[in-house]
């Protein structure tokens, strides 16, 4: 069979038991087998059943992506693995807090660009703003790139969270 060697970027959602060591298990799997992690987020989504949702953005050939999913499914505390990229349309969002320090025109320009990107100011001093911006990864990248010459000093990003479009649920 012909092996497809194109590198694809996939967003994978993993439902896991929120127990000690479960994140280490997932991360150890990626590092131990040499898979990429571009971003990873994790939080409990059901406190009654102690279930967490991990969203991991990874890249690899189609064969590697299939391996990643199969290996994840093999972990005992993993309930479900869903390849959001492969399973049709999905929405992806990331949130960033961006600190920009500056005076005068640069300050005004930063505020103007923030408005274009629909970023909100959530903290302000005479010399600084903290913007909150959410959107696709590319939009956040574009925003931080524009802010660099305007005095960007600090960025904190959440990594991607994603969910499938339409009425279907995990």
């Amino acid at each position: 069979m012909v092996v497809d060697l194109t590198i694809e970027r996939h967003t994978i959602a993993v439902l896991v038991d929120n127990e000690a060591g479960v994140l280490a298990r997932v991360i150890g799997l990626f590092s131990g087998r040499g898979y990429n992690i571009e971003s990873l987020t994790v939080a409990e989504i059901d406190s009654d059943d102690a279930i967490s949702r991990i969203t991991v953005v990874t890249s690899g050939t189609p064969q590697i992506i299939e391996q990643i999913k199969a290996q994840l499914e093999r972990l005992v505390p993993v309930h479900r693995v869903i390849d959001l990229t492969a399973d049709g349309a999905n929405v992806e969002r990331e949130l960033a807090l961006v600190k920009v320090v500056g005076k005068g025109n640069k300050r005004v320009e930063a505020l103007r660009i923030a408005d274009i990107f629909r970023a909100r100011v959530i903290d302000s001093t005479n010399e600084s703003f903290v913007f909150e911006i959410s959107g696709a990864t590319e939009k956040l990248n574009a925003f931080t790139d524009l802010m660099v010459p305007l005095g960007l000093v600090d960025v904190s990003r959440t990594g991607v969270v994603a969910i499938a479009r339409g009425k279907s649920a995990l």
Binding site: G21, A24, G28, A70, E73, R74, V76, P77
Partner: protein, 603 residues
């Protein structure tokens, strides 16, 4: 005499009290092991497991085998598990006890052997404080176990104990570690037998998809050059899987090759068996793999020792892959038809479909295929030349096979040349008779594993086919064999070299034998005697049979020190980075130098 009402009431009260009676953590552990059907635990005591050892002391249901080093305990449990199909059980202390167990756990993970390993841990309030004999056991063992647990709350202990056994034996089997802080062992809780309870989410799929099975069966019926390539998964699935495999292969008339781990899954002396495949597989098996038009992989995982160079692996075949572990499918080799499920169940489904549809294979094509294979067989790739008095290792193992094949015999091996010769020359007609470290290649596996097998099968003949270098790695367990009256036989093909290392140095590193010669070996016969074993030695070819006969007849542990040809290499061989049709058949074959560069970086 029937009970009167007050007697019944009293009995009920007593029973209720018994059920409500709180047990210590250690008592719960022992009770859970007994309820899981564990008869023997292999272990070594230490500070952090003393309460469990105290509980073991106060009961008679659970037998404990005291090893000499924890690594030996895990291999013994592996031998026990492989030869019985049951879950092997290990008990070691915290820190060094747990770290010594790591090699065996990794070995069991690679070869899919069900184990539960209980490790002691410092009390919960000391965890993370660098306490005496503390190690992050769950952290260290996470990548080398199927799953592991740290018990932080004694209320979870009964569930975790039973869940561990469920996880170890279900799906693709593997080792499970339960890390037990000392305060948990000494705390109290109520115990409920949960041995029948399944895991809430971990439920591997057993049945194959019927439409895929129909497709597979049709592909087999249509194939002109089919080949079954079967592995350890058949053995792990149970005796029934081997029987069904046998039926299917007889029905189709197709040839079958087995992996190192699969030996015994199909009778080794049967005509349709064309030998082991892979790096030291037979000429006919590897060429059949290369030329086949359909490969049916059953419980095998396309390991790099099997496939050789991937881009030249079986280029013209369709491939069906049956495995319980979805992550084994399309990992190394892309297949045309994957079927996920238990091998035994799927073979059963295939047989039903085959019979219901009254299918037959293409007889003429199969006959032509066998003609090809028989031509390859005529090369007699396993032929060796035993002339003169120097013992060829192949001869020693072949004679061992001839002398023991009528016995109720189990074979274990260490790792190296002798292991490959054992795989080539010893024919296994039944599953679970062959214990070897396949995936991890752990030198020192054979002796402890043999003791584990002997403990499970006290009346059987258990032989560790060994090399002297591997044997030295875990020879401390000789003492364990004596303590528990395990009359294992260690059959050492002694060439004073790490033979496989020397062979690679000869073929790929210009015969520069860097550190592969063992100087100052102990006198193995005297060593045996000092350990209360019997030591025998053969230095000439005509002594081999007598030594083997004597070894079998002695009802005590024996070392048979067989001095073999130091220069002998293991052939056939596919050099690293070469393809199946680029085999070396013997010392006169030159390795293709263009491929040797690439192959050198591979292991």
């Amino acid at each position: 005499m029937p009970e009167c009402e007050c007697q019944i009431r009293r009995r009920c009260n007593r029973e209720r009290k018994m059920a409500d009676r709180k047990l210590t953590g250690s008592e719960i552990i022992v009770k859970a092991l007994v309820n899981e059907g564990v008869e023997t635990v292999f272990g070594y005591p230490g500070g952090a497991v003393l309460p469990i050892y105290d509980a073991i002391f106060q009961q008679n249901q659970l037998k404990h085998v005291l090893v000499r080093q924890e690594g030996g305990a895990v291999h013994m449990a592996e031998g026990y598990a492989r030869s019985t199909g049951k879950v092997g059980c290990v008990l070691v202390t915290s820190g060094p006890g747990a770290t010594n167990a790591v090699t065996g756990l990794t070995d069991a993970l690679m070869d899919s052997i069900p184990l539960v390993c209980l490790t002691g841990q410092v009390p919960t309030h000391l965890i993370g404080n660098d306490a005496f004999q503390e190690a992050d056991t769950t952290g260290i063992t996470r990548p080398c176990t199927k799953h592991n647990y740290l018990v932080k709350n004694i209320a979870d202990l009964p569930r975790i104990m039973h869940e561990a056994f469920y996880v170890a034996r279900s799906g693709r089997p593997g080792p499970v570690v339960i890390d037990l802080p000392k305060d948990i062992q000494m705390g109290t809780a109520t115990y409920k037998n949960l041995s029948q309870v399944e895991h809430k989410t971990y439920q591997p799929r057993l049945k194959g998809d019927i439409s895929e099975i129909e497709k597979a069966v049709a592909m087999i019926a249509a194939a002109k050059k089919p080949l079954f390539y079967c592995g350890g998964g058949v053995i792990n699935s149970g005796l029934k899987a081997s029987k069904q495999l046998d039926r299917l292969i007889k029905l189709t008339g197709a040839p079958v090759t087995l992996t190192l781990m699969g030996l015994g899954a199909y009778p080794g002396s049967d005509d349709q068996f064309i030998g082991m495949l892979g790096m030291h597989g037979t000429y006919e098996a590897n060429l059949a793999m290369h030329d086949a038009d359909l490969i049916v992989a059953v419980g095998s995982r396309f390991d790099d020792r099997v496939t050789g160079r991937l881009n030249a692996f079986s280029p013209n075949s369709k491939k069906i892959h049956i495995d319980i572990d979805p992550s084994s499918i399309n990992k190394n080799v892309m297949v045309d038809l994957p079927i996920v499920g238990d091998v035994g169940v799927i073979l059963d489904q295939m047989l039903r479909v085959w019979k219901a549809k009254k299918l037959t294979t293409n007889q003429r094509a199969i006959k032509a295929w066998w003609k090809r294979i028989n031509e390859w067989r005529q090369r007699e790739c396993l032929k060796y030349n035993q002339s003169g008095s120097v013992i060829k290792p192949q001869y020693a193992i072949e004679r061992l096979y001839e002398a023991t094949k009528g016995h109720d015999c189990y074979i274990t091996t260490e790792v190296g040349q002798h292991q490959m010769w054992a795989a080539q020359y010893y024919k296994f007609d039944e599953p679970k008779r062959w214990m070897t470290s396949g995936g991890l290649g752990t030198m020192g596996y054979g002796l402890p594993s043999a003791i584990g097998v002997q403990v499970a099968h006290p009346g059987a003949l258990v032989v560790d086919i060994s090399g002297e270098a591997s044997f030295l790695m875990n020879m401390q367990e000789m003492s364990t064999a004596v303590q528990y009256g395990a009359p294992v036989k260690v059959f050492i093909t002694n060439n004073q070299y790490m033979g496989m290392v020397r062979q690679w140095q000869e073929l790929m590193h210009g015969s520069r034998y860097s550190e592969s010669y063992t100087d100052a070996l102990p006198d193995l016969v005297k060593l045996a005697e000092s350990c209360h074993w019997v030591g025998l030695r053969a230095t000439k070819a005509d002594e081999v049979d007598d030594v083997i006969q004597e070894m079998i007849s002695i009802d005590r542990p024996v070392i048979a020190d067989i001095w073999v040809d130091q220069k002998e290499n293991c052939f056939p061989m596919i050099p690293s980075g070469a393809a199946h049709n680029e085999m070396l058949l013997g010392p006169d074959d030159d390795a293709d130098q263009s491929g040797a560069e690439d192959g050198m970086v591979l292991v």
